[in-house]
Symmetry: C2
Subunit: 117 residues, 2 copies
């Protein structure tokens, strides 16, 4: 079972990976096959669905990257962490919080994103 910091680092990496095959591999390492993702703006299911969802998000924000901003903060089989979407100059354009459930093997199963006002 991977520790939660490793999994969350993989989660951030999968959002930033431009190559679809490599991104799919990162998603499969980080999320369960039956994983779900939902935030106010998008939703995806499964490794393929979430890989494609992230690709669409990357097209909306060219040159941007996600960075881990705070956490992870974990207890039982739950974790939360704060991330920022940064533009090419490193300026934060969106801050959000993700909550997730953690499967027995350490991968994330159900991820919910909220955007800070």
């Amino acid at each position: 079972m991977r520790d939660v910091q490793t999994v969350v680092d993989g989660y951030i990496a999968m959002w930033n990976e431009p190559d679809e095959a490599e991104r799919r591999a990162l998603v499969a390492e980080t999320l369960t096959e039956d994983a779900t993702y939902v935030d106010p703006l998008m939703a995806g299911e499964g490794v393929d669905g979430i890989t494609a969802m992230i690709g669409a998000a990357q097209e909306q924000f060219p040159g941007h990257r996600i960075r881990l901003h705070a956490g992870p903060d974990a207890h039982h089989d739950r974790v939360r962490f704060t991330w920022q979407l940064q533009d090419g100059d490193g300026a934060a354009v969106v801050t959000g919080v993700d909550f997730a459930t953690v499967a027995e093997d350490g991968r994330l199963r159900s991820v919910t994103g909220f955007l800070e006002p």
Copy 2:
């Protein structure tokens, strides 16, 4: 289906209700029969289990009350909100964030609490 503000107001009220029968009624109005609650310090399942869990928490913090501090912030079938535990003088002694899934009838089903540092 009750709106999310009403349900979250009921959720805060159930944490503050000292009478066990009245608290159980508030829990049953606010949470599904199969609801779960987990935070770093406690966990409970079902209407009876969560009613008892809150009673034990109240005994640990006599004279304290929970207040809604921010939110609710909801999308899809998910909601988050921030609360504070206040002492008898109204001073915040703990701040936390609850994240929950919302059942079709508007009640909360799975509640996860995190405590702010």
